[in-house]
Symmetry: C2
Subunit: 162 residues, 2 copies
DNA sequence: GATCTCATGTAATTAGTTACATGATTCG
DNA sequence: CGAATCATGTAACTAATTACATGAGATC
């Protein structure tokens, strides 16, 4: 993100919320220490760039940093994939519930993905998306949430007929 | 899982790998301390049940534990949903890559989901699935991985035509 | 007799969140 | 002048993984 021109910790946090949150989140408490780690590793450079009396660290990528970014993007290692889906975990144990409670469980799963679908549709219509890959990953997120909402609709019918 | 009759830490770990890993994982290092926490909270009970000289703790759920399970399954709180998808995060930054490297990125995303699809198809054909909801969540995982593999196939064509 | 599975645990480490704390600038 | 936004940071905590360590029972 520094390579793209998001030059402050604050800006990076905002960009994560706007762009990658649904498939890779991070919180402020981790970003500032990480920028300092990257600095001491020589992958980014800092410059003090206060706005009036407000201190402000302006980060930019170094040649080494660009090389490291490229290495990460092209290395052959298995990319990490993890999902933590509490609604589905609950469904896994739904056998102990009454039919009504089971349906409620699936409805909540549906509501979650329907809401995210709505938000993403909005964003994809509004935004200009100067970056093709930013748009593409947003479309992935939309596609996934649509699929999951549909799955929940079908599951509701199955769960109700018990 | 204790409520279902998985009575040792070892058995619980095996059941997680078999059943919930793709949407909720856990590792041994966390399971044994958690069982002790649940015991001291009165939600499960332990009994020593050695096999020969091998010590063995046999856990069973208590009435309190059953009540807590029911509360968790029916409470109105927003269920946690988190995804950590490194392949997609890489794609998000694919603008700095050559067309060939971009295609390679999408192919790896495809390979990941295609492999998981294969594994799940196998499991769903073999297994008897005495629990309806265990099967249902496995079908969710299969459906998602199929969808993601298809998405990657479509994305590959888009990325290649640059 | 070797290897695999069953079985339990700890220690060290890593990752990450949440809450707190501060304060200037900008805009209406 | 008040509220929202920009901006940085720390401390405490929670969660979780990985690696290490051990050893018996079962199977081939």
């Amino acid at each position: 993100m520094v390579a793209e021109g998001h030059s402050t910790g604050y800006a990076i946090k905002a960009e994560i919320e706007r762009s990658t949150r649904l498939f890779w989140g991070a919180s402020v408490g981790g970003i500032y220490p990480e920028l300092r780690r990257l600095t001491s590793a020589g992958l980014v450079a800092v410059r003090d760039d206060p706005r009036g009396l407000t201190r402000r660290h302006c980060y930019s990528i170094t040649d080494e940093g660009r090389a490291a970014l490229h290495d990460w993007l092209t290395d052959g290692s298995e990319p990490l994939f993890e999902m933590r889906n509490e609604a589905l975990l609950r469904l896994r144990f739904a056998a102990v519930l009454s039919p009504e409670d089971r349906v409620a469980l699936v409805r909540r799963l549906h509501a979650l993905h329907a809401e995210r679908t709505r938000l993403l549709e909005e964003r994809l219509q509004e935004d200009a998306f100067d970056d093709v890959y930013d748009r593409m990953t947003a479309e992935y997120a939309l596609g996934f949430n649509r699929w999951a909402a549909d799955w929940a609709t079908a599951a509701e019918a199955r769960v109700a007929s018990d």
